[in-house]
């Protein structure tokens, strides 16, 4: 084992993990001052997302996904974004609308229904450049950035083509000699998280599983959060232990009830299975995809227009379907 050659993945990380540069950027551009950050989705995306940016979304395409913000990114017509992550719908929408050029991917698929037609067309045509990572690897890379360190050693990805087509490297532990996969930190340009509620400064609470919201919030230069509900700071101060994302990480707070639609939100509303099925059918062809994007994204001026189109009866029914505690 002592002679074993150290290995490098073939696909260098899209972001160089220069932590001193990140420190300087955060020190200069972020602040702990209490500022009212509530704004609409047009403003949030216009101010904080820029062509060429590396973005990441959380949680996962049909569950507490920032669909409202992603639809706005599509509407604003970006052509040259990169992303890290996984998705059923939110990252898929960005690929479908040809907003992204490169991605650090762990999973893009439809679980029960099968594989993603959108990803297939983008990957098989060579249009989308992809590096491979495991699910935990992407989350741990955010965790490393959150810790302010440039890599994290793990026991995932070793020995596989997933490693080979990633930007990981093997390293040896200086204490034990154990081989680990060293994963480069990812401090993304823009993180986007949909949360249950926040105050106007951005102190955000999430109910149910936390996915990788904790890590992404701390590994984002700019952080847009959309929320089901805006609450008072007095309410936040009553339950400070519930603040998963503190204000100083947040740049924009966007009020978007049903912001995860057609995905679900724990304890709030169930996913719209019929809508997701019709979208999945539509994506089987390029024309169907275009028609879907026109009807459900481009032709709607904002999130409220989407809610109006779905209608209050349907939204009330989705609320009635979600499991309680």
């Amino acid at each position: 084992m002592a002679d074993q050659e150290m290995l490098s993945g073939l696909k260098p990380p899209l972001l160089h993990p220069d932590m001193d540069a990140n420190r300087e950027w955060l020190h200069k551009n972020k602040s702990m001052r209490l500022v009212d950050k509530v704004m609409d989705e047009h403003e949030a995306v216009r101010r904080f997302v820029h062509e060429g940016d590396f973005i990441a979304t959380e949680l996962y395409g049909s569950v507490r996904a920032p669909m409202g913000i992603c639809r706005e990114i599509v509407r604003q017509g970006f052509k040259n974004l990169n992303f890290a992550g996984q998705g059923v719908m939110e990252t898929e929408l960005l690929i479908a609308a040809k907003c992204v050029k490169k991605c650090e991917l762990t999973y893009q698929g439809w679980e029960v229904y099968g594989i993603s037609n959108i990803l297939r067309r983008a990957a098989e045509s060579g249009e989308l450049e992809i590096s491979e990572w495991s699910n935990a690897a992407l989350a741990w890379r955010l965790k490393a950035a959150a810790m302010g360190i440039s890599f994290i050693p793990t026991r995932s990805m070793l020995g596989t083509d997933t490693f080979k087509y990633s930007g990981a490297k093997t390293i040896r532990c200086p204490f034990t000699g154990q081989i680990y996969a060293a994963l480069p930190a990812t401090m993304v340009d823009v993180g986007i998280i949909h949360a249950h509620r926040a105050d106007r400064y951005g102190n955000a609470q999430i109910d149910g599983i936390s996915g990788f919201a904790w890590e992404l919030a701390r590994a984002s230069k700019r952080l847009i959060i959309s929320v089901e509900e805006i609450i008072s700071s007095d309410e936040v101060r009553k339950w400070p232990d519930r603040t998963m994302i503190p204000w100083f990480l947040v740049d924009a707070v966007v009020h978007q009830p049903f912001g995860s639609y057609p995905g679900e939100m724990a304890y709030c509303y169930e996913r719209d299975q019929e809508h997701m099925q019709s979208y999945f059918q539509a994506t089987k062809t390029e024309e169907g995809t275009k028609a879907y994007l026109k009807e459900w994204v481009y032709d709607l001026k904002d999130h409220q227009a989407l809610l109006d189109k779905i209608g209050t009866d349907r939204l009330a029914w989705l609320k009635s379907q979600i499991l309680g505690r």
Partner: protein, 252 residues
């Protein structure tokens, strides 16, 4: 009682789950199998879902691994790092995996068919599979049994099985004593030969011959002298599956 091939597959998978152990559960058949096991012989099976669901009741069938049904009445709703680190620390017994291809060492492909950068078919990618295959003590793969899926050489090695054979996992840096344990298919139940780490036939499904299994396997499967036969689903198993676990026929 009449049953569908998938129902037997779910029952055989469920019977692999041990009471009082912990298991990472993926979407689809593993969810049904875990729900069945918890109602049959393994009420204390702790189901883990990679996005954070930990020790839920599985009273309602989830549609995805982040679904709120994965943590309904759960002991804990955690996050992905927390659960994957729990596994990396050595505290997760089993992991259930699937894929488009498997080889004789239990390595799995769920990334691409054809070359990576210009694939013939782009599949979803690793997701949590690589992590689960890396750090759970034992993994159980659930597959459809065809020559296209049981291959001599994978198009892409997404998730580590025994890699190239004995000692290869440890040499790569993977945790000692971990690796593939069972493969459950629509035709048979397989395990692994201890000396060679190669897949071996353990039992066939009712009505399936050993020759059929061999014909549908694209690599040389070890055929021991003694081969069992899986019991067909019992009436109780079928009743639970059809009436309680998946009454809306989402999966079966």
């Amino acid at each position: 009682m009449e049953y569908k091939p998938n129902e037997l597959l779910i029952c055989v998978a469920a019977r692999q789950m041990e009471d009082g152990t912990s298991a990472f559960i993926g979407t689809g058949i593993p969810m049904l199998a875990a729900a069945l096991a918890k109602r049959m012989h393994a009420p204390n099976l702790v189901t883990l879902f990679e996005f954070g669901g930990c020790g839920g009741t599985l009273e309602h069938l989830p549609l995805g691994v982040g679904d709120s049904k994965t943590f309904y009445k759960a002991f804990a709703a955690l996050g992905i790092c927390d659960l994957m680190e729990t596994s990396q620390r050595g505290m997760v017994d089993y992991g259930f995996l699937g894929g488009a291809q498997i080889d004789m060492y239990g390595n799995l492909n769920s990334t691409v068919i054809g070359p990576h950068d210009r694939p013939k078919v782009r599949l979803p990618g690793s997701g949590g599979a690589n992590d689960i295959g890396s750090s759970c003590w034992k993994t159980i793969a659930i597959m459809q049994h065809t020559r296209q899926r049981f291959v001599q050489k994978l198009d892409f090695l997404t998730t580590a099985g025994y890699l190239t054979g004995p000692g290869a996992r440890e040499a790569a840096g993977l945790p000692r004593g971990t690796g593939p344990y069972r493969v459950v298919t629509n035709l048979a139940l397989m395990g692994y030969d201890e000396a060679t780490c190669r897949m071996k036939l353990l039992a066939t499904n009712p009505g399936v011959t050993v020759e059929q299994v061999i014909e549908n396997t694209g690599f040389e499967l070890i055929i021991p002298d003694k081969i069992g036969v899986n019991d067909p689903p019992t009436e109780r198993e079928l009743m639970l599956l059809r009436n309680e676990i998946d009454p809306n026929h989402l999966y079966i």
